[in-house]
Symmetry: C2
Subunit: 532 residues, 2 copies
């Protein structure tokens, strides 16, 4: 059965290299039940037996750096974190009223959201199978709430199709599925199927197509109350009560050729990728609650405002030099036995770092995705009250690409902040070259094509260009081909080991940061315990 | 465009009969934007101009009765509610520790859930397009949270397929969609398609099938990292970080013939019916929060413990006789100008009610669905911690039919209550004939086939048979054919008008109860204002 392949070698390996699970009971329970695990995470690593007096300097106080520090200190290592900013968390970042954003080129934006309003300008959602993130949230008391990813009532929009008017996602989805199923039903019925199915299975297939596509007795997907029960009803003609406007009316599907030409089908698996499988989660109060939870644990280890300039290695130590990032304080130098470096390769490749030529080469080669994200506050949650869109994402072929509606404070009477743009690819380069004011105007202009309420209801907004963020110079890593390069990047180089989302198979996801940090910690501990 | 048909006659009718929206601004905004409305609800009715001194007796203090009372009193009518139980809300009912359930046959169950734990034993979810329910929640300050309906990580289970082991819903869904899309791709490629599509559109169709089905360049759905990105990865082989178990492994699909024979395809539109479109909601703290909110408004009008025995009508009044439901207090008699009757037809048809022969005939004929629901408390939320199932529903061909995981307190370390059975059809009759203890044992026995943790973790549970609930004798109405019968049931009979989910096109849904109540109120107000 595809669901539960036996993996004795993996388990055996697990024991062999001594990385037994911290929560072994859970792991054993899982194994005996035969239930699938969806992540390599099996609990925090067992770092018992750490030698006395060993020290680690961690570069970067984002999630990877703080997670590494937490586990290393717990194991008895002496840890210091150097952080460029005056806040911990890195890209785990929530913008709220009173915050300031600085970008290269002297651009500065003041965030003026109302009390309690925010935008998660970096990561914004947590899959239910990101076991490390969920487990740390659990252990560090970070309350979570559901993040609505798929919303059948959100829109699909194209400037050049359906007169530029948005279509409800649920309509397009049901009509595409219904009509391709109808085509398959017809082909099957005329014996045109090229399959290995027996006659009996072919009959079950036909039955299943009727059920899945909502086809009538002649295998047609046509206007009817039956399809309305799945796609929805015409405007104002949903089932009601009593006598008044109560009887539902049949619903007319969108023609297949129009759906095909609109290319809306491109979006129809967006919410059923594994990483977006329902349900997803977000921390109550903003993604930064995860950063703050880690900071509560290891904040005392963090030296803020420390801009790393140089990393030197010897046979028995690592020395890191740093300046005051704001040019105001004192710089300094730290020597430790090991170094965990979470600085993104965009930045690290520009520093004087004493690593192998191979690692240096990989640092320079790794490309980062560009992305521009906008947070827009509106006086009124018109998407909820006028259009019944609670959370979820509208997808458009305009440069803004997405409008994502907040999953927090749904149904409230107050204002709301939505993600007004998630720009990537060539459009992001265009936005990168605009001033923040120009970007905002552009985002509002495009958004108003989908929600005409924009201009009346808008109060304040920010548009962040991740390529211009001085401590990132990009959004997240883009491994075209991993091969040997990834292995080099992820392997300890003398006493220096990298961590962060870029050192993972989950680029851009916090799970990747945490898992890479745990592996960095594993490598240090292995080295520390075997080299005694 | 199918999305937004013009409905001038509907709007015209709206104004003509004087039912202008209470929230007219919203309605106008909607109309001018051309956005779809998904319900006939346009705000509470305008009941201005009610004559002085008119009275209404409302039979039943469930949602329909309380909603009617709220609007009638607001309009100036003198209202009394007679309620059989000592609590308001009817089927809007949340069972908590300390509650007692009484059923016909002398069965009594004491609910012994831990503090804060509950089961919504009646309605348990609110669609985002049930505008009346949402608007009343908004106006009566009932906080809502997301109800997780579709969960890709919940199970599909059959006693007779896949060795009786549960399959993840997301695996079955992706593999069924992938493989039927592959079949259609093959048929299209060999020119066997029977469609009106142009050659150009047929090429777009092929491109769309690749995208929707996750097909390879040869239009095959086969084991690969590509399909793993959608269906999920093999056990323990999801993408990780660093070097340790980090590289993901390809995922092997379930064979189409096995999926067909399992009949799991029957479940694949369960979560994409219009009434289950994501997102859905539930009140924080239990569904009864809606009942409690209405009770805060109209509780002073309710006479509890009043068992209606007779309804008499004259040309100018309605008189209702009632007994003390518990046999302990005094009965009585109330005369009013009008009567809104929300007593289910299962009960009402047994009483001495002075209505037209047509209405009496309809009351007797209406069938009600049977249903048995179980709430089971477990020490530990093993479905979350062991199996990463947060909310959503497991579907099985065992008599329990469903196991639904709680959407409240997800990620908590404490106990949890899940819906251990939602039995309907012939199986419900079988459960109806069992004692509560026998039902519970059966529900645990079946559930343990899916979750072996059941026996170790179970603490306490209740199993309610709706057919044995003395004030219901059924779960919700089942209109096979509406036709003239529905019109009779929903039309005012002299001074007597029925309301409740049975007087709606949304049987079993609270939206139906509220909309029917608003229409009953409309009919009374129309009669009262025109007969002066």
């Amino acid at each position: 059965m595809a669901d539960e392949p036996p993996l004795p070698t993996r388990r055996a390996l697990l024991k062999m290299i001594g990385l037994t699970a911290g929560s072994g009971t859970m792991l054993n329970a899982m194994a005996s039940l035969g239930h699938a695990r969806q992540s390599p995470y099996t609990g925090p690593p067992d770092l018992s037996g750490a030698p006395d007096g060993q020290s680690v300097v961690v570069l970067g106080g984002g999630l990877a750096g703080m997670c590494a520090a937490l586990e290393l200190r717990r194991a008895g290592y002496d840890v210091t974190i150097l952080e460029y900013q005056n806040r911990a968390g890195g890209r785990c970042w929530t913008l709220k009223g009173g915050d300031q954003i600085e970008e290269l080129g002297g651009y500065r934006q003041d965030v003026e959201f109302s009390d309690g309003q925010y935008i998660n300008i970096g990561p914004w959602r947590i899959p239910h199978h990101h076991l490390a993130v969920l487990d740390y949230c659990h252990r560090l008391d970070v309350p979570l709430e559901v993040f609505v990813q798929e919303n059948h009532n959100a829109y699909l929009h194209s400037a050049n199709h359906f007169d530029g008017k948005p279509i409800r996602y649920g309509h397009a989805w049901a009509d595409y599925v219904g009509q391709i199923t109808e085509l398959l039903g017809k082909a099957t019925n005329k014996g045109a199927l090229d399959s290995n199915l027996t006659q009996e299975d072919t009959e079950i297939l036909l039955e299943s197509l009727k059920s899945f596509g909502i086809l009538d007795k002649d295998y047609r997907y046509t206007a009817s109350l039956d399809i309305a029960e799945y796609r929805g009803y015409p405007d104002g003609s949903a089932p009601g009560g009593g006598l008044y406007d109560a009887a539902p009316e049949p619903s007319e599907p969108i023609a297949l050729k129009d759906l095909l030409q609109s290319r809306f089908w491109q979006y129809m698996r967006n919410h059923t990728t594994y990483r977006h499988h329902a349900p997803m989660f977000q921390p109550v109060g903003g993604m930064e609650q995860i950063a703050k939870a880690f900071e509560r644990e290891v904040g005392d280890l963090i030296q803020y405002n420390a801009q790393v300039t140089r990393v030197m290695q010897s046979e028995d130590s690592v020395t890191v030099e740093y300046n005051a990032a704001d040019g105001q304080g004192e710089g300094g130098q730290i020597t430790a036995d090991y170094c965990v470096c979470t600085i993104p390769f965009t930045i690290l490749s520009q520093l004087d770092v004493d690593v192998s030529p191979e690692l240096r080469q990989v640092m320079r080669a790794l490309h980062y995705y560009e992305a521009v994200k906008a947070g827009l506050e509106f006086k009124r949650r018109f998407w909820e009250r006028d259009e019944q869109i609670y959370g979820g994402i509208t997808l458009t072929d305009l440069p803004i690409a997405e409008i994502a509606y907040p999953s927090n404070e749904m149904h409230s009477s107050g204002p709301g902040v939505l993600l007004g743009a998630y720009v990537y690819g060539p459009h992001a380069y265009a936005y990168n070259s605009m001033s923040p004011e120009e970007r905002l105007e552009s985002v509002l202009e495009y958004g108003a094509q989908i929600h005409p309420q924009y201009r009346d209801e808008f109060t304040t907004g920010v548009v962040l260009s991740w390529h211009r963020v001085p401590w990132m110079l990009g959004c997240y890593s883009n491994w075209d081909e991993r091969g040997r390069d990834y292995e080099v990047a992820a392997t300890m180089d003398n006493r220096f080991v990298c961590a962060g989302e870029h050192i993972s198979y989950l680029p851009g996801w916090q799970e990747g940061s945490l898992l890479s940090a745990l592996d960095a910690v594993r490598q240090i501990h292995e080295r520390a315990t075997t080299s005694q």
